[in-house]
């Protein structure tokens, strides 16, 4: 008995060592470590990564953002400015320079305040894709730079969003507003045009398919490639990768065309919840069934042990 335990110890030791080597150790060596920054945005990473001639402009830009963030915003006064946003972000808007402007219904809840300020000040700078443009006015939302110019106006519209567009979104709403204009989700029957309706006639179905292809072509022309469908992404990437990638895509995939999205922590959690609902839907069932199956095996093992003992008792 004693000897068996010793042998078991040796087998267990080597098995765990093997596991450590091919899992935690290998992964720590394979993936570069990227430090997260808690879904807050102050431009530090952007400035650090920027080329020499851009450093100064970026430093000044984020310093301005900080100043605006310190202003007291007036939500009521912000409503009028918000009207300008709705010129593009209205229901049923069409593709605009590559993508369909997302709904802003929960913008106050899912986006970080500093990020929103930066976004209105200069969308391309905020999402760290300014290197794509000779003039950041050319960004699909770039004209906002000329529409809202006063720091106080920016502070006001952000205050408005934080006051009036901050109801808690469902997991799916968060994804639709933050990611769905670029990423399809075929396991939820969603494309860049939103949920796919059911059609009575094949003709209508095909007509819709063509619209989807046209929309995807537009996104492709804007991004350089079609953003991948995210149906299984929750199992294809680690938790840490997803968090740091969404915070700052350049940190994990240098040179990628995916812009930063600017979610705050709660917003990202909602998006992740949705990705998990679609890509790993068995999680709740696993958690229910797991203890029962393992409990059964423990009981089985105890009974087997008693059986074995009764047969082996007289052998020695």
């Amino acid at each position: 008995m004693n000897k068996e335990l010793k042998i078991f110890g040796v087998v267990a030791f080597f098995t765990l060592l093997l596991y450590w080597g091919v899992e935690p150790f290998a992964h720590s060596q394979m993936h570069k470590h990227v430090e997260g920054h808690g879904f807050t945005y102050d431009g530090t990473a952007d400035i650090a990564e920027a080329s020499a001639e851009k450093k100064e402009a970026k430093t000044a830009f984020w310093a301005d953002v900080k100043k605006i963030a310190a202003l007291e915003g007036d939500a009521v006064a912000g409503e009028a400015t918000f009207g300008m946003c709705m010129g593009c972000h209205m229901d049923g808007a069409g593709n605009m320079g590559g993508v369909i402007p997302p709904s802003l219904d929960h913008a106050g809840a899912i986006y970080d305040k500093n990020y929103l300020i930066a976004l209105i000040k200069d969308p391309a700078m905020a999402s760290n894709v300014d290197h794509k443009y000779a003039d950041t006015m050319m960004h699909p939302m770039g004209s906002i730079k000329t529409m809202v110019t006063e720091p106080q106006d920016i502070a006001n519209v952000v205050a408005y969003l934080k006051a009036n567009k901050s109801a808690e979104p469902t997991a799916k709403e968060a994804f639709s507003e933050a990611c769905a204009r670029c990423h399809a989700m075929r396991y939820d029957k969603a494309t860049q045009l939103g949920d796919t309706p059911t059609f009575k006639y094949k003709k209508d179905e095909l007509a819709h398919e063509i619209k989807v292809i046209e929309e995807q072509d537009a996104v492709k022309a804007y991004m350089g490639k079609l953003p991948p469908d995210l149906s299984m992404i929750i199992r294809a990437r680690s938790h840490h990768f997803m968090e740091t990638f969404v915070e700052n895509p350049q940190s994990q995939l240098a040179g990628t065309s995916m812009p930063r999205v600017g979610l705050n922590e709660a917003g990202y959690e909602k998006v992740e919840e949705y990705l998990s609902d679609i890509g790993d839907p068995s999680k709740p069932a696993r958690e229910i069934a797991g203890p029962w199956v393992i409990g059964f095996m423990i009981l089985f093992t105890i009974l087997a042990y008693l059986w074995k003992s009764s047969l082996w008792r007289d052998l020695h």
Binding site: V22, R235, A285, R286, A289, M297, W307, K308, L315
Partner: protein
């Protein structure tokens, strides 16, 4: 003709016995299949393997009812249909994935147990050879199964492994295309690996297991001290009721009860992994759909092939391929390279004891290095040294066992 009792009730024990000799069969295979008493739980690994294979077959059948072997449908049939729409589909898939990984863990434990106790020689050569045959078959089964979800790793591992058949400088691309049925892995490739995985290989494996069991029947299994004793005599003693004095126990029910207990422990671990820690068995990269235009940043095989992959990598193209080829079959030669007459645990065999642990650790180090990116100079160097050591050990084996003292 044999005697048939007209009055025997159909399907009663007597009725069956007269037609199928079942009591004789049961005696030969179970009640009077004698197992040495002096063995530890490592001797239960064979039955654990048989049970795991059974689980792989059952879970595989459930998966097969929904899996679609098409390059456009395979990925979604596994990841959407089975994981989302099919009731408990996720359970069968995780059981199948974890089972495929654990079967190799247990095979390696089973192999190294055999090496440690010298269970591969002096009458047990055929057990060893049939076991190695099973290892090769399981490797092929695992590889073909890995192709089926048609994810990035399926595609690229399929690409890399089939490329090996070009034979380095021989440039036998015709052979590679013949194996793939196409220039690159595609529909023909997927369909044939599907056929291999769900039909031909399992069939051959079942035959292999029967053969492996048959090779055990005459030499009997070894024991913790490598002691050679008269099984007939020991069996008579047991049957005479002197169970304490006898050195053997019958397989059923006595040894079986221990097998079942060990299986119980194993299945606690098994299901813990199925429910709470399955990622190690289902590589994240394979959850990206296959894309022939986008090479993944790291291509590596499942953990159980890493050691031989690392023997391939550190050398030049042709040398690596030869080294890899030899590594695949060298364990087959073990009974013939070990020239010592002793059947005993390694701890009693002097230099062989050192050889055993060096080999185990070397294979482990090769496994670790096999997964790491080849760009790191330190790791590449450790990999090279371990690969060379692997061959040095095999070359040294006949010499150190030749000078081993007879116990």
């Amino acid at each position: 003709m044999a005697h048939f009792d007209e009055n025997a009730k159909p399907f009663s024990a007597q009725w069956l016995d007269e037609r199928l000799a079942i009591s004789t069969v049961r005696k030969v295979l179970a009640f009077e299949y004698w197992i040495p008493k002096n063995i530890n739980f490592l001797w239960a690994m064979g039955m654990v393997l048989a049970a795991t294979f059974g689980i792989l077959v059952v879970s595989g059948i459930f998966l097969l009812m929904y899996y679609q072997p098409g390059v456009d449908t395979a990925f979604d049939s596994v990841n959407y249909l089975i994981m989302t729409e099919v009731g408990y589909g996720w359970l069968w898939r995780h059981v199948h994935g974890v089972g495929a990984s654990l079967v190799f863990l247990i095979i390696y434990i089973h192999m190294f147990t055999g090496i440690y106790y010298g269970s591969y020689k002096r009458g047990r050569e055929m057990i060893w050879l049939s076991g190695m045959l099973l290892f090769v078959l399981f490797s092929a089964e695992a590889f073909s199964g890995y192709m089926l979800p048609w994810g990035q790793m399926s595609y690229w591992a399929g690409m890399v492994i089939t490329n090996l058949f070009s034979g380095g400088s021989l440039e036998a691309y015709g052979l590679v295309e013949w194996i793939r049925g196409d220039y690159v892995p595609g529909q023909a490739f997927l369909t044939r690996f599907f056929m291999l995985h769900v039909f031909l290989l399992p069939l051959v494996i079942i035959g292999g297991i029967v053969f492996h069991f048959a090779t055990l029947r005459l030499p009997h299994v070894n024991n913790q001290d490598g002691e050679d004793f008269d099984f007939e005599e020991a069996a008579e003693l047991y049957k005479a009721g002197k169970v304490k004095e006898s050195k053997v126990i019958p397989f059923q029910p006595v040894f079986l009860s221990k097998d079942v207990f060990v299986m119980g422990i194993y299945f606690i671990l098994f299901f813990y992994l199925v429910f709470y820690n399955f990622d190690f068995a289902m590589d994240p990269v394979n959850f990206d759909p296959a894309d022939g235009l986008k090479t993944p940043a790291h291509i590596y095989p499942e953990w159980y092939f890493l050691w031989s992959y690392e023997i391939l990598r550190p050398f030049s193209k042709d040398l690596g391929l030869i080294a890899f080829g030899i590594a695949q079959v060298i364990f087959l030669a073990l009974p013939f390279l070990d020239r010592s007459p002793n059947v005993a645990p390694a701890s009693k065999r002097g230099l062989f004891h050192i050889w055993f642990w060096l080999m185990l650790i070397d294979v482990l180090v090769l496994t670790f290095m096999g997964k790491l990116p080849p760009t790191d100079a330190t790791f590449a160097f450790i990999g090279l040294v371990s690969a060379v050591l692997f061959f040095v050990l095999w070359i040294a084996l006949p010499f150190i066992t030749k000078i081993e003292k007879k116990l």
